[in-house]
């Protein structure tokens, strides 16, 4: 049994899931902050659109992304012509797919956490002469931090397990875009049960570590 074989997909998976979580964190918290602090027509529709990737089948998302960022897609064509970037069949494309599926998990928990932050604290900071950025960074975000962190952990786990949309966008290219979940699929299809067993053990261990460290981080420390 070649022990290095699960190593490459593991590294690729951690890289993609890590970057996707970071992107989902920034976008999700920003979106949640806008939706909790601003009132505008169509707010409920925006909220529903942000949650949609959570409930839609990954293959549907994959198809949307294929039409959107493919070489003939609206965004894909623009990216290729102006920046020379193609997302199809690349780990960057896999990261986009993972970000889309991970986003609602951060968004939902950040929104719930931010709604729990009392407006009085924010107003108090404002009376002390803090600008909106400082209010967010020094008051709202720290108070909502635990909820956001829980969302980010879930998002990381979801991004790690992403399969359907990734397969459609990035393909299943060993050493290039083959993440752990795709590697398990290929190993089973090819009848390589030894490799499948090794990969499954690796995934289970990584998930266990994530769950244990999340519950440690989230344990009240007062």
């Amino acid at each position: 049994m070649d022990l290095l074989k699960p190593g490459l997909p593991l590294w690729l998976t951690l890289k993609i899931a890590g970057l996707a979580t970071a992107a989902a964190l920034i976008l999700g918290v920003a979106m949640a902050y806008i939706l909790t602090r601003r009132r505008f027509p169509g707010r409920d529709v925006v909220d529903a659109l942000c949650t949609l990737p959570l409930v839609m089948p990954p293959t549907v998302l994959g198809y949307y992304l294929l039409v959107f960022i493919g070489r003939r897609g609206i965004l894909g064509q623009w990216l290729q012509e102006t920046l020379g970037i193609t997302l199809m069949f690349s780990w960057q494309g896999a990261t986009v797919a993972a970000t889309v599926v991970a986003f609602p998990l951060v968004f939902k928990s950040a929104r719930a956490a931010l709604e729990g932050v009392s407006k009085q604290y924010e107003d108090a900071a404002r009376t002390l002469g803090q600008n909106e950025w400082a209010v967010f960074l020094r008051v709202s975000f720290p108070l909502a931090f635990r909820g956001v962190l829980a969302g980010a952990m879930l998002a990381f786990a979801r991004a790690m397990g992403e399969f359907g949309a990734t397969l459609m966008i990035a393909g299943n290219l060993p050493g290039r875009t083959q993440t752990l979940s795709l590697a398990v699929y290929s190993a089973v299809q090819a009848g390589d049960d030894g490799l499948a067993n090794a990969l499954v053990v690796v995934i289970s261990l990584v998930c266990l570590v994530i769950l244990v460290s999340t519950s440690r981080l989230l344990k009240p420390n007062f």
């Binding site: 493919g70 070489r71 003939r72 299943n172 089973v188 299809q189 090819a190």
Partner: protein
């Protein structure tokens, strides 16, 4: 509260038990066929049903290698049609099919194809090493016969290892075709019959000469609970009506 949970659980359990489990009916015939046969077998299915009323045919399309793994792991299949003799021989060797039940029913041609307009300007097989060709669609050779045929042809030409970084490995030959018609790959290896289905979106550049021609064997599985029906299906495919429908999709008679 506790009582409500108990009642809810009871309702869920009752609902699950009430839903009838999908039991395979005696007259249901499961045909596991190579992905490249998709269009042709979808034509054959209604013709067979018309000839044998009351028979329920379930088509299961995937790459031949994946279909073999399914059979190996005990999936219920009555007929197996693969796109190369390799997987059928494996099925015979492992005892799922008896050797004299296997019949060759069609031939096909592997081709190098490009999306309409040929954006990368591929003219022959040897152009694949040009720097303008970045993405080559190919079936995963481990499970997809079209990929395996392409691999052996390219290996014989001493090109496979050099081209490997450019390959976009696909789960079935039909996925290669889909990427070709969406212009996501510069060129790809598919069967001539697949390009018939894609219409003018995919253009054939060159036929690939193979040491062994693309050959489709079909057989009834030993474990089939409806082996008489399965044999009727095999006879239909290999009979004159099946042959006409296969030829309409570009397959050649054995």
């Amino acid at each position: 509260m506790k009582r409500i949970i108990h009642i809810a659980l009871a309702i869920i359990v009752a609902a699950v038990l009430a839903v009838p489990a999908p039991v395979a009916r005696a007259e249901a015939l499961v045909v596991s066929a190579a992905a490249s046969l998709t269009t042709a077998f979808k034509d054959i299915e209604p013709a067979f049903k018309a000839a044998h009323p009351g028979v329920d045919v379930v088509m299961n399309f995937a790459s031949s290698g994946v279909l073999y793994r399914q059979i190996e792991r005990g999936a219920p299949a009555d007929v197996y049609a693969s796109a190369n003799p390799k997987w059928m021989q494996k099925a015979v060797k492992s005892g799922f099919v008896s050797g004299d039940a296997v019949k060759i029913f069609a031939h096909n041609v592997l081709v190098l194809a490009v999306p309409a307009g040929n954006p990368a300007g591929v003219k022959t097989l040897s152009d694949l090493t040009d720097n303008g060709v970045k993405r080559i669609g190919i079936g995963t050779p481990e499970t997809v016969p079209a990929g395996q045929y392409a691999e052996s042809a390219l290996t014989a030409m001493g090109m496979y290892a050099r081209l490997k970084p450019r390959f976009i490995f696909c789960e079935t030959v039909r996925q290669v075709l889909d990427y070709l018609s969406r212009d996501e790959v510069d060129c790809g290896f598919v069967y001539r019959t697949d390009t018939v289905k894609a219409g003018d979106k995919v253009v054939i550049i060159q036929e690939i000469s193979l040491e062994k021609p693309v050959t489709y064997p079909i057989a009834v599985l030993k474990e089939s609970a409806v082996s008489n029906l399965a044999q009727l299906f095999v006879d239909f495919v290999t009979g004159s009506e099946g042959m006409i429908l296969l030829e309409a999709q570009g397959f050649k008679r054995p």
